[in-house]
């Protein structure tokens, strides 16, 4: 169904191992313009490793090929990759407290030369991103003093200021309350209408079902399922992914 759309991220036969432990073993998928691809899998299955490969942290270690915007990630420098892919980590507490505005402005760093700081144009870009992510009222507040949900939205604003059309998010809703999970996911979903491609990992099949365009389930280093939530996300997949029995699932139904 997405064939007409531009494929942004293409992963083929990705393998990766830590020491002798094989984490990813022949993972292949494609992420298209305007979709949310949710990566599901148990703890330690290699979701973060997969993301780190996409972000170019393991260029010398991984096997297979990763192409982003038509160019091999191995041949893309960090400063060019930053204009294509933005990374949104789990909400965190950095050592030094920056204002939300400064934090978002950091996203524009790749747009200016190595020895200069963001100028008026970048400040304008950051202001618009702050506005769109809905954190304008927090702009002068310290990043370490706002709530987890507000931090996550600040990081979304930072990714928008980075002006990369691919967003990679490592469990964006971890540690957030139910309301904030929905607010963050709604904001992310809205971005896809502007042509963003979002690849995120989550431990919540429910969130994936409601917000993802497609689901990529990983189990034992291989792709266990790939497709629209309605097609692939059933009890059988959840049981096999998380090592549960159908009786276990009944407890939460």
């Amino acid at each position: 169904m997405n064939d007409a759309k531009f494929d942004r991220v293409s992963v083929s036969d990705l393998t990766f191992s830590y020491a002798k432990h094989l984490v990813l073993n022949g993972v292949s998928f494609t992420a298209y313009e305007g979709e949310v691809l949710a990566v599901l899998g148990p703890n330690g299955v290699g979701k973060s490793t997969l993301f780190h490969c996409l972000l170019g942290f393991h260029n010398r270690e991984f096997g297979g090929e990763i192409t982003i915007c038509g160019e091999s990630v191995r041949r893309t420098s960090p400063s060019v990759l930053a204009t294509r892919v933005a990374f949104i980590p789990q909400s965190h507490a950095p050592t030094f407290n920056y204002t939300v505005r400064d934090m978002v402005l950091m996203g524009t760093t790749a747009q200016v030369g190595g020895l200069s700081a963001p100028g008026a144009a970048q400040i304008e870009i950051a202001e618009r991103a702050i506005e769109r992510a809905g954190v304008a009222h927090l702009a002068e507040r310290g990043y370490t003093q706002i709530s987890g949900g507000e931090r996550q939205l600040t990081l979304v604003a930072r990714a928008m200021a980075q002006q990369a059309k691919i967003l990679v998010m490592d469990e964006p809703t971890a540690n957030l309350d139910f309301g904030n999970q929905l607010r963050v996911m709604t904001r992310i979903k809205e971005l896809t209408a502007d042509g963003y491609t979002v690849i995120l990992s989550t431990h919540s099949p429910d969130l994936a079902k409601h917000f993802a365009t497609r689901i990529l389930a990983i189990s034992n280093g291989k792709v266990a399922a790939l497709g629209a939530p309605a097609d692939v996300l059933d009890d059988e997949l959840i049981c096999s992914l998380y090592g549960l029995t159908p009786e276990d699932l009944l407890l939460v139904k």
């Binding site: 780190h52 972000l55 170019g56 942290f57 960090p78 400063s79 060019v80 990759l81 930053a82 204009t83 892919v85 933005a86 990374f87 980590p89 965190h92 950095p94 050592t95 030094f96 407290n97 920056y98 204002t99 505005r101 400064d102 950091m106 996203g107 760093t109 790749a110 190595g114 020895l115 200069s116 700081a117 963001p118 002068e140 310290g142 980075q162 990679v168």
Partner: protein, 332 residues
């Protein structure tokens, strides 16, 4: 609106520094009036006595200039190390630049080399120590930053042991007191050539730091985050460490061990202008110069016999540090 506010603090510090500079010139056992100063510098050089000129140009101005330069450098180095190591408690001696310099100076004094060689030894040993730290840390496994810091702690404790041994074998009548006095840190023996000796490496180190200061912000986040925002983390971090080390080595080699400036001043200024290095670095540079200038004024004017400046900065620095660790956690 907030930005102009911070910029005006930086400008205000600059104005204060200029005022303090002029006042400092007039202070001293041989008082110099403002009129004499202006005459000597610009208007009527012939009306000023040779004695006054000699004091002004050979003793007082070099010392005042050097105290500003050392304060500026130590404070800039401290702020930079704090960012690079993501650690608000980092100071210019975190990797052993100071203890390396101490070993070099002690060795030169032991060999009864002239003052200039003591300076050169201190400078070279300081840089050598950090080169060794960076080399060793390349082989450290695991977390990169932790590797550098641990290598720094180990190697500075080694150089500390060497310094102790030199003190042990030094002649206790003339050599040992000289080593001890050097270690206390002092600007008392400043000569015009010291200013030139220090100015070159300080300029080489400070200029890249000023240009890279925005990127230091990104280094305070995790390496992965900074990298995904397009920063070449390894290269920027290496450059900042090299520059901060260069200015620390230049400072320590002309002034001896002056502690606390690099920790106290950036911290005070974080509270005034925030953590953004766009403002923090220039503010630290000016604030550090101002701080050490004032402390040195006290050092040379308070008592008949001069108090080594390293002792005074500790007297100011230690209470501040205690306040820092006991205050309530708010903006930091």
């Amino acid at each position: 609106m907030k930005k102009t506010h911070y910029s005006s603090i930086v400008v205000g510090l600059g104005v204060l520094l200029c005022l303090a500079f002029v006042v400092s010139v007039t202070l001293g056992r041989f008082p110099i009036t403002l009129r004499q100063l202006l005459n000597a510098l610009f208007f009527a050089r012939s009306e000023v006595s040779d004695q006054l000129k000699a004091i002004l140009f050979n003793v007082r101005l070099p010392r005042i200039l050097l105290s500003c330069m050392v304060g500026c450098s130590l404070s800039a180095a401290g702020a930079s190390y704090q960012g690079v190591f993501q650690n608000p408690m980092a100071a210019p001696d975190i990797l052993g630049a100071s203890s390396g310099a101490a070993t070099g100076a002690a060795l030169a004094i032991l060999l009864e080399l002239p003052g200039q060689m003591v300076m050169l030894f201190a400078f070279v040993f300081s840089l050598g120590t950090i080169a060794l730290v960076m080399l060793v840390s390349r082989f450290a496994r695991g977390e990169k930053l932790l590797g550098i810091i641990l290598a720094g702690i180990m190697i500075s404790s080694l150089t500390g042991a060497v310094t102790s041994y030199i003190k042990l074998v030094a002649d206790p009548n003339n050599i040992l007191p000289e080593i001890t006095y050097w270690l206390m840190g002092s600007l008392a023996k400043t000569m015009p050539r010291d200013v030139i000796f220090a100015a070159v490496p300080m300029a080489i180190g400070l200029i890249p730091l000023v240009f890279l200061r925005w990127r230091i912000n990104l280094l305070t986040l995790s390496d992965n985050e900074a990298r995904t925002m397009g920063v070449n983390v390894g290269a920027v971090r290496f450059t900042v460490i090299v520059c901060a080390t260069l200015i620390t080595a230049a400072s320590v080699s002309v002034s001896g061990l002056i502690g606390w400036v690099g920790l106290v001043v950036p911290h005070l200024l974080r509270r005034l202008v925030g953590n953004n290095y766009r403002h923090l670095l220039p503010a630290s540079m000016i604030g550090g110069a101002l701080f050490l200038l004032i402390v040195d004024d006290i050092s040379r004017n308070l008592l008949i016999t001069e108090i080594p400046i390293g002792i005074l900065t500790s007297v100011v620095g230690a209470p501040f540090f205690l306040w820092l660790i006991t205050r309530k956690k708010e903006v930091a």
